[in-house]
């Protein structure tokens, strides 16, 4: 069973991720009164990127990007195989460090500042992500996802604050306005392309694919709040995930980008207010 889930994740996650990315671009375009690209466009883009000539400043960048991809896939596989959720989140952070290295190893000013902002973004997300793990532990007495999905009730009933905090930092993780600090899906930001400025050809394709894996992983955590023993919870979880995704697209199209300092303030404020209060309540109720 575990092997099956791992293989399903390995194969389906990039496909679903790319498809969601294409739908995202199409809906965004319609919100802007444009026609938008075809839904399969992200796949065409990645295909084109692999065909381009790779020009890198140093060869270590390729190694670092491959490590980033491998660690991200590893995290997702761990998550889907039912392993310890907190371990998953730590490996996730480690993967982010490799992206930072890949950006700063080039010595380009935009890439360097983008890398710094990437670390800063991680710092903003970490509390909410870790607290999510803690919240599940307090509820189910385990970090293991395999056991959490067998719970009697959906976790969200008892963990609404954690859910709200996680949803808030999802905007940061998915690189959407107002928190698309280190790099963005749109051009024109002050750092040109930030962390991905010096990535090209196959390295950029690897970045893109890793983003798809990461998005699916983040959405899976959202789904984890909903899934329980009842098989009907799975379609319900999918609906909630799609609604959350649509909300992210809407937020992206209705906000300007905030400055990094503000992002830190807001994300920690929401985390402490929502997740922190929920945590206190859980501890008291036990």
């Amino acid at each position: 069973m575990r092997i099956a889930m791992i293989i399903l994740y390995l194969v389906l996650a990039p496909l679903l991720g790319g498809l969601l990315d294409g739908i995202d671009r199409r809906i965004s375009a319609r919100m802007q009164r444009r026609v938008g690209p075809p839904i399969l466009q992200p796949f065409y883009d990645v295909q084109k990127l692999f065909a381009k000539q790779r020009i890198v400043v140093t060869n270590s960048q390729t190694f670092l990007m491959i490590t980033y991809l491998v660690l991200m896939v590893f995290t997702g596989c761990m998550f889907y195989s039912g392993a310890d959720m907190l371990m998953c989140f730590f490996v996730l952070s480690t993967a982010g460090i490799f992206l930072y290295f890949a950006a700063v190893v080039t010595d380009s000013p935009y890439s360097y500042i983008g890398g710094q902002r990437e670390l800063f973004q991680e710092m903003c997300c970490e509390p909410a992500v870790l607290l999510t793990g803690v919240g599940f532990y307090l509820l189910e007495d385990t970090f293991e996802t395999a056991k959490i999905v067998q719970a009697d009730r959906s976790a969200i009933v008892a963990l609404p604050g954690f859910f709200a905090a996680f949803l808030f930092i999802l905007t940061i993780k998915m690189r959407k306005s107002p928190f698309d600090e280190s790099t963005s899906h749109h051009p024109h930001q002050e750092l040109v392309k930030g962390v991905t400025t010096e990535l090209g050809a196959s390295n950029l394709a690897l970045f893109q694919i890793t983003e798809w894996y990461e998005n699916i992983l983040m959405l899976s955590v959202i789904a984890l709040f909903i899934i329980n023993k009842n098989p009907w919870s799975i379609p319900a979880a999918i609906l909630v995930v799609l609604a959350a995704y649509f909300l992210e697209i809407l937020i992206d199209n209705t906000s300007a980008r905030m400055k990094s300092g503000k992002m830190l303030e807001l994300s920690w404020a929401v985390t402490i207010a929502a997740a922190g209060v929920n945590l206190l309540i859980l501890i008291l109720v036990r």
Partner: protein
């Protein structure tokens, strides 16, 4: 207290940068993400247009003057033609003056909407950027209907205008402007009240009234700091017969500049309505005989501020000298002043907020 040695890096901003509308180069010296010093350099788009007066006769030069810049194009054609008319003592018919005023205001609407879009883009709000430019397309359709071109109007000539705005066209203009105004209210509301936009614009790039006076800034950049100066009040063309007040704000930050420019769009729509209601019948142009001889010097209010046009003729059909002082040139010192001590994320906004038109500045 110990002085920590912070690592300084130099970020080359421009001339190619996605957020810049036109090429300007700034060497930004950063400590972490704080800008410590700014070293600007220009000259990437100098084309030697002022020298061309010696090779194109004064009638033909209108077409060159118009093409100094794509955004302020009508203003440049108008300023040049007015300067030559003043030099040759030509009195333009009244209908031509009204037509020029209408086109001038349409040019202002298009320029401010373009700027609003760039500003939205600079603070990362792409949706607002596209909506502003979609509204600008409505304006450009009107311009294309009346003059034949979207950005380069080619309707000015020494002595008057070349084309007329018929009563049918006037009706279409009024309808379309009403639609534009209705949609613009929503955009204006977003610029002024949205939380994330306010985070990026309030308190950023503050210039006080005294600084504006000392640095010589002009146009909406100065009016946002409380200086109520609008060159249209001099009454050139038909402005003397229209009723308006300069749009002023007192805060002097980016938020105030957004406010001033967007309110000026509403003011321009109102001015076009007044002009269309009052436009008299008459000729479009008067024949011009002879060659310009002597000097003339006029000022007009471009969308970006006060532009000064100077021509000197020597009795032949080629002018001796044509000099244009653009508003952006006057505003660049203000921009450099606001950049000192700001954070890196504010740089694109501070550049875009002066509404830079480097192609006019460098000709």
């Amino acid at each position: 207290m110990e002085e920590r040695e912070k690592k300084r890096s130099v970020v080359p901003f421009g001339p190619q940068h996605p957020v810049l509308p036109e090429p300007i180069h700034l060497d930004l010296v950063l400590e972490d993400e704080k800008v410590v010093d700014v070293i600007p350099s220009i000259g990437f788009i100098h084309r030697g247009l002022e020298d061309l007066v010696k090779k194109r006769d004064f009638n033909e030069y209108v077409y060159v003057a118009e093409r100094t810049c794509g955004i302020c194009s009508f203003g440049h054609g108008l300023g040049y033609v007015e300067a030559v008319e003043k030099c040759m003592n030509v009195e333009v018919p009244i209908r031509a003056k009204y037509l020029r005023t209408i086109w001038s205001e349409m040019s202002r609407i298009h320029s401010h909407l373009l700027w609003a879009g760039l500003m939205a883009d600079a603070f990362g709000f792409e949706n607002l950027f596209y909506q502003c430019w979609r509204l600008r397309e409505k304006n450009l359709d009107l311009v294309e209907m009346t003059t034949g071109g979207r950005l380069i109007y080619s309707v000015n000539k020494v002595g008057g205008v070349l084309k007329d705005i018929t009563p049918d066209m006037q009706k279409v203009i009024l309808n379309n402007l009403s639609e534009l105004e209705a949609e613009l209210r929503d955009v204006y509301k977003t610029f002024m009240t949205d939380y994330s936009v306010q985070e990026r614009t309030r308190g950023v790039g503050v210039l006080t009234k005294e600084q504006v006076h000392d640095l010589g800034c002009c146009g909406p950049y100065a009016r946002a700091s409380g200086v109520a100066r609008d060159i249209r009040q001099l009454g050139y063309e038909a402005y003397g017969e229209l009723d308006f007040e300069p749009v002023v704000s007192n805060d002097g930050d980016n938020y105030a500049r957004c406010d001033v420019r967007l309110r000026e769009v509403f003011q321009s729509i109102d001015l076009i309505r007044q002009a269309i209601a009052k436009i008299p019948n008459g000729e479009l142009s008067v024949p011009v005989k002879g060659n310009p001889d002597g000097e003339a010097f006029i000022r007009i209010e471009q969308p970006r501020g006060e532009a000064i046009y100077y021509v000197e003729g020597n009795g032949t059909k080629f002018l001796n000298r044509f000099r244009l002082r653009t508003p952006t040139f006057a505003n660049i010192p203000g921009m450099c002043e606001t950049m000192k001590g700001c954070s890196y994320a504010d740089i694109p906004l501070l550049v875009v907020t002066i509404d830079p038109c480097i192609s006019c500045t460098e000709r």
